[in-house]
Each structure stands twice: as structure tokens, then as C-alpha cells.
């Protein structure tokens, strides 16, 4: 395996003793995932069990353990990534999330003015939740003793989201790629590592092709399935095959778009002297999603960890990191301050809502 070979050479390199020369101008950095499904299953089942028997409270710890597992087993140039978050802010985020979900559920089922209120509050809160979660994840992600940082603001995110909603609405959804690119650019460009800001160069035009391909395919497939459904309804036959066909159609479209989108997103992202490229293939994604889905359904969920590892390993194996300039651009911000105040920063507004 080329990945393993690369890992091997990287280990020799990193254990060669002297600090690596910063003068190297262009080369591939080794990125390896060292986790395995057997270990991860044990981590997953223990945490799931504790989560169930604490009625979900433990899920915050489970999340930290899960993130820590993937970070610690992902090594770039022989050094793993580090996840620094504390479970308590995550627990807070989840409690807020549960309250919002309950309100949403009550709103949709009782209808009336409550739903309107929930929608308005949700729209007002959405940018705030996104900004706080991005900031949280950046602050508690570290590599080689330097942390990431997210500098987005509520006002900026709200403006981008409103703009995206308007673009999508006015164009009846056909402007979605441009909306998506704008939002993504905002979030990537306000992320920094070691004082270096990330850039995102994809425009709506780049995302448009996969998006329209997916929409066109879905419409075509939907028409075929619709005709099938119409025929079977008239004959009084079961609609199960139709539902199954719709499900497969949805899965294929989703997998295709995810693969293409991932490829474009990584290909158009860079971090100062670091360039990324993701060679995701749609057919691989379709196969992975469907085989994972079948495995999970047939094992009543017990193969969820295996599926997660498989997907993650594929992504890492197909992601390449190129160094095209000097790494001395990266300098420490105030890493030690984060360390010291990590617990204190966890005030009411420091929470994470992302899965």
C-alpha cells in the first residue's frame, strides 16, 4: 500500500534526529490513519452503553472519546492531531440542542403560533450556533502544540446565511451552489492555524456541475420511479419496491454529491504553504455508503463503528497534503494561554453543537 510506504518513510524521517529543515520547498507530507475497527468498536460500545444507562448524559464524554480516537490516530508527518475539549461544554451544547429539538418537535406537531416562534428563533440562532461550534472545534484542535482559531462573527455569518437563503429562494434553488460556496468560503477563510489564514477559492461555478448533475439525475430517476408508482397504485400492488427505489436513488445522489463536493472543497482549500487535494471517487462513495448501510441494518447497529472507520480510512487515504513553501510561516499564537484557561473559557457561551 502506498499509504503504508509513505508512513514508513515518514517515520524514518521523523526519527532521524535533527529538527526538520524548514527550507524544503515542495514535497508531499505523509498523512496516515492508524486506527482500526476492533479497537474503535470497544471504545464505541463502552461509551454507548454508558450513554444509554445515563440517559444520554454521558454522550458528551462519548463524543470527546470518539474525537480523541480519530485525532490521535491521524498522523501527519508522524505526529498525531490533538483534541483538547472538555466534555462539560459539549454537554451544555447538547442540553441546549435537546431543548431546541423538543421545541421544534412540539412546534411541528402542535402547529400554530408556536411553530412560527420556533422558526424565527431558529433562524436568529442558526448563525450563532454555527459560529460558536466552529470556534469551539478550532480552539480545541491542535497539531504540534499550535491550535486552530476561528474568527467568524455572528454578524458576518448571519449576513452570509441570509444572502445564501435569498440566492436560493430567488433562483428557485438553482443558485444553491453559489450560496453554498459563499457560506463555505466565509467559514474556511476565517479559520487560521499558527497565525496563517486558510483560503477557499471555489466559486459557485465549480460546485454547479456536480449539483446540477445530482438534481438532473434525481429528477430523471424520480420520474421513472413516479411512473412505476403510478402503475403499481393502479394495479393495487404494494408500494414497497417504489420506496426502495426512491431510497436507492437518494443514496446514489447523496454519495455522488458528497464525493464531488469533498473533492472540490479540499482541492480549492489551502493553508498558507500547505495545499490539499482529495481524490474521492463517486463510485467508491456509493459503494461505501451502500455496503455500510447494509452492514449497519443487518447487524442492528453493531457495525456502526466498523462503518465509521472504513469511511474515515478511505477519506484519509485519498487526501493528500502538499507542502509548497516554508513551514516557518506558522508561529505560535498564545497556545499556553489556551492551555491555562481552557477550563475557564468554558463559560455559558462556549459550547459545541456539532455531532
Amino acid at each position: 500500500m502506498s499509504g503504508a510506504e509513505r508512513a514508513g518513510s515518514a517515520e524514518q524521517e521523523s526519527s532521524s534526529g535533527a529538527p526538520r529543515a524548514p527550507e524544503v520547498e515542495q514535497r508531499s507530507l505523509s498523512l496516515v490513519f492508524k486506527g482500526n475497527a476492533r479497537d474503535y468498536f470497544r471504545l464505541w460500545i463502552v461509551n454507548l452503553c454508558l450513554t444509554l444507562f445515563t440517559l444520554g448524559i454521558f454522550s458528551a464524554w462519548a463524543k470527546v472519546r470518539r474525537k480523541r480516537y480519530f485525532y490521535s490516530h491521524t498522523e501527519l508527518e508522524g505526529i498525531p492531531f490533538e483534541y483538547l475539549a472538555d466534555p462539560i461544554p459539549i454537554l451544555k451544547g447538547r442540553l441546549i440542542g435537546v431543548v431546541l429539538l423538543a421545541l421544534w418537535y412540539a412546534g411541528t406537531h402542535f402547529s400554530g403560533p408556536l411553530l412560527l416562534g420556533v422558526v424565527v428563533v431558529g433562524a436568529v440562532l442558526a448563525p450563532w450556533v454555527m459560529v460558536r461550534s466552529a470556534a469551539f472545534n478550532a480552539r480545541y484542535s491542535a497539531y504540534r502544540n499550535l491550535t486552530f482559531h476561528f474568527a467568524g462573527t455572528y454578524r458576518g455569518a448571519a449576513y452570509r446565511l441570509l444572502e445564501a437563503a435569498l440566492i436560493s429562494f430567488v433562483t428557485c434553488g438553482f443558485g444553491y451552489p453559489w450560496a453554498l460556496a459563499n457560506v463555505r468560503r466565509y467559514f474556511v477563510a476565517r479559520t487560521s492555524f499558527g497565525g496563517v489564514w486558510a483560503t477557499y477559492t471555489a466559486r459557485g461555478g465549480h460546485l454547479a456541475r456536480p449539483f446540477y448533475t445530482m438534481v438532473g439525475g434525481a429528477m430523471l430517476g424520480g420520474a421513472v420511479v413516479g411512473a412505476m408508482q403510478f402503475g403499481s397504485a393502479r394495479l393495487g400492488r404494494s408500494v414497497t419496491p417504489t420506496l426502495l427505489a426512491l431510497y436507492v436513488l437518494y443514496g446514489v445522489g447523496y454519495a455522488y454529491f458528497q464525493a464531488r463536493l469533498g473533492r472540490l472543497n479540499w482541492g480549492h482549500s489551502s493553508l498558507g504553504p500547505i495545499d490539499f487535494a482529495a481524490d474521492f471517487r463517486a463510485r467508491d462513495f456509493i459503494w461505501l455508503y451502500f455496503s455500510n448501510a447494509v452492514a449497519i441494518a443487518c447487524s442492528f447497529g453493531l457495525l456502526v463503528p466498523w462503518a465509521s472507520i472504513r469511511m474515515y480510512r478511505y477519506r484519509i487515504a485519498r487526501l493528500s497534503v502538499e507542502q509548497v513553501g516554508s513551514l516557518s510561516d506558522f508561529v505560535g499564537e498564545s497556545r499556553s494561554a489556551v492551555r491555562a484557561t481552557g477550563a475557564e473559557v468554558a463559560d455559558l457561551f462556549d459550547f459545541d453543537l456539532s455531532l
Binding site: K34, I45, R234, G301, S308, F330, R335
Partner: protein, 373 residues
């Protein structure tokens, strides 16, 4: 040397200023920790170090009080350092053990099964009794609106047939204990086919197609079954249990990507169908009892079920019906016949022109849906 041998841990040092790694050695000597090999050697109190929680055999991080960080291989010596997280240590310890994993698998399965078969039904009952009937009715009206905008049209049956169905429905409804303001809605829906639904709050929908596939009297037996659902507030309890199962599924599947997650919904659909089967049996029993008290024979239910089965599909509450929400027809028919054994019906009353009864008994010839438009 008078010192005992210090424990040596080889590590890479990151000073928090640049990405450069410096190979160093961490010497643990009693209560002291020294970093040897860095540009400037440094000594710290052992108690001021923090080691990151163990994650199997992945490399670990040691934070030093001056902002430096060491990355080193997992090794027993690290157990001597103060842990950065007090709560994660025990979890990491549990994760290491295969026996714990085996126990966790069994406990999780047992917990899920207990929650599913005991906890959730009880929870649903408790929640259902706390939801006032008016609230429940608003659920039902909302669902009825959804039906009317997407699936159904106003009935196209003649007024005499409708009158007979309504009269029979009222007959059975009087038998309900506690008394209910259940309401009958007749709708035309070639798409749904012959079917009846009990919505939350006692709104009952029956399709023209069912009344025409069976007879008026047989439809009344089906309505008795639906009133059985109303009697036990099945629609509401189903809604609550569905939410519970979905929440549980989210908890288990939180890890899988969303596409795979929708696959893990498959067991959930099956799980929910399982609930429906219990409800159906309960509604059947209540329906038979009400039919007998009102003077109707449960045999009507058996013959109607037979006709629908011959025609194709009987679904009851929405999507779940595709995963066989109803107990096997043969069983239900047998139970209905058992309930009718030895019973002398006083109903239906003699009717002047029974046009539905005039239809050929051989219902296996499918009724073309276009006939009723």
C-alpha cells in the same frame, strides 16, 4: 552516583512557537521531571505536568507548565504523571478490556430490549394520559388536513350508503367506554385503496374503496376495530413510541454518516411495526367486544378482512404498514370467527335496497379503481 535510576521517556518537543520537532528525553526522577536534549534543558515538578488521556496505543501528549508539549509513544511510565482529565481515565481503562466490551454489548442489547418492550410503552402511556384530549384532537385535525391536501378527495358515495355507514358507526360508538366524541370522515382515495385509519383525538377516516370492496355492514366491523384504536388512544401512543424509538436510533447511530444513518432507520421501521402488531390485536379484541354488545357479529370483520386480503394489501397507520403492521390476516380472521362463534346477531337491520350486498361475492376479481371516479 547516589541517585536511583530515573525513568527515561523519549519524546518530541514542540515549544508552541513553531512546528519544528526537537527530539528530547523526559527523565522522571522521584518528584522531579527533567527535559534533556532541548536547546535549553528544563526541570519541573512532576505534579505540574499533565498527560493526555490514553487512547489505546496512540501517541500521547504531555503538557509542561511553560507551554511546551511533548509527544511520546504510549508506555507504562506515563501512568505516573498527573492526568489532564480525571473523568476520562476510568473510561479508557474500561475500553482496554475485552471482557468489558463483551459485557457492554450484552448490557446494551438488554437495555435496548427492556426500553423497547417495557420502558417505552409505559412511558408512552404515562405521557398519553397527561396530554389533554383537546390537544390530541388538534394532532388529529392536522393529520386529517394532510390527508385531504395530499391523498384524499371528498367521498363520492351516495347519501343512502353514507347514512347507513354513519348509523352503524354511531351504533358502535355508543359502546365506547369511556365515552368518546369520535368522528367519522369518509373519503375517496384510489391511491390509498381500501383502508381505514384512526387518527389521534378520535378522528376516523374510512375510504370509499373499503366500503365498496366490502359491504356496508362489513365496513362497520372495520370501524369497530378503528374505535378500538380510539379506545386505547393508540394513535397518540404510537406517535410517542415512534419518537422514543427514533431518539434511541439517533443515539446508537450518532456516529454513522447521515447516509448510512438512514439505513439504520430500517430496523427502526421494523421495530415500530412490531408495536403496531400489539396495538392491532388490542384494537381487534376491543372491536369484537363492541360489535357483540351492539348486536353485530364479529364474523363481519372476518369476511371483510378476507375480501381485502384477496384484493391485495391492507395497510393501517401510514408508512409502518409496509413493514406488515398488521398481524397475519389468517390469525385475525380466525380470532374474529372465534369471537363470533355461538353469537346470534340482532343487526344489521333489514334494509330496503342493499345495493352493496348485491355485488358479486367473488371479490378476488379486483375492482377497477376508475369505476368510482
Amino acid at each position: 552516583m547516589t541517585h536511583s535510576n530515573p525513568t527515561r521517556v523519549s519524546a518530541e518537543l514542540f515549544d508552541g512557537q513553531s512546528l519544528l520537532a526537537q527530539p528530547v528525553c523526559l527523565e522522571l526522577d522521584g518528584e522531579a521531571a527533567r527535559v534533556v536534549g532541548a536547546e535549553a534543558p528544563a526541570a519541573f515538578a512532576l505534579s505540574s505536568l499533565r498527560v493526555s488521556p490514553r487512547v489505546f496505543n496512540a501517541q500521547r501528549f504531555v503538557a509542561l507548565p511553560n507551554g511546551w508539549e511533548l509527544v511520546c509513544a504510549e508506555q507504562p511510565a506515563l501512568a505516573r504523571l498527573p492526568q489532564a482529565s480525571s473523568s476520562e481515565g476510568p473510561v479508557a481503562w474500561l475500553e482496554q478490556r475485552i471482557s468489558v466490551a463483551v459485557f457492554a454489548v450484552l448490557a446494551t442489547i438488554a437495555g435496548v430490549v427492556a426500553f423497547y418492550f417495557v420502558g417505552l410503552p409505559r412511558l408512552a402511556d404515562a405521557v398519553a394520559t397527561r396530554i389533554p384530549p383537546e390537544r390530541e384532537r388538534t394532532f388529529g385535525e392536522g393529520t386529517l388536513r394532510t390527508f385531504d391536501t395530499n391523498l384524499t378527495r371528498p367521498t363520492s358515495l351516495d347519501t343512502e350508503t353514507l347514512r347507513q355507514v354513519r348509523a352503524g358507526f354511531d351504533d358502535i360508538r355508543k359502546q365506547l367506554t369511556p365515552a368518546s366524541s369520535a368522528r367519522l370522515e369518509v373519503r375517496d382515495s384510489p391511491g390509498i385503496g381500501p383502508n381505514a385509519f384512526a387518527l389521534p383525538g378520535g378522528v376516523i377516516i374510512i375510504t370509499d374503496q373499503l366500503i365498496l370492496t366490502c359491504s356496508v355492514d362489513e365496513s362497520i366491523a372495520i370501524l369497530a376495530h378503528e374505535l378500538g384504536h380510539v379506545r386505547y388512544r393508540h394513535a397518540l401512543r404510537h406517535l410517542i413510541q415512534e419518537s422514543g424509538v427514533a431518539a434511541l436510533g439517533t443515539l446508537v447511530g450518532a456516529d454513522a454518516s447521515s447516509a448510512s444513518l438512514s439505513a439504520s432507520m430500517l430496523p427502526i421501521v421494523i421495530a415500530q411495526a412490531q408495536y403496531s402488531q400489539g396495538f392491532e390485536a388490542e384494537a381487534d379484541a376491543a372491536g369484537f367486544a363492541m360489535l357483540r354488545r351492539a348486536g353485530w357479529s364479529p364474523a363481519l370483520f372476518a369476511s371483510c378482512l378476507g375480501k381485502i386480503a384477496a384484493r391485495g394489501k391492507l395497510g393501517d397507520p401510514g408508512i409502518a404498514s409496509y413493514a406488515s403492521s398488521h398481524p397475519p390476516e389468517a390469525d385475525r380472521i380466525a380470532r374474529a370467527e372465534a369471537a363470533a362463534r355461538g353469537f346470534v346477531p340482532s343487526r344489521p337491520p333489514k334494509r330496503p335496497a342493499d345495493r352493496v350486498e348485491a355485488e358479486p361475492e367473488n371479490a378476488s376479481a379486483p375492482v377497477p379503481t376508475t369505476d368510482h371516479e
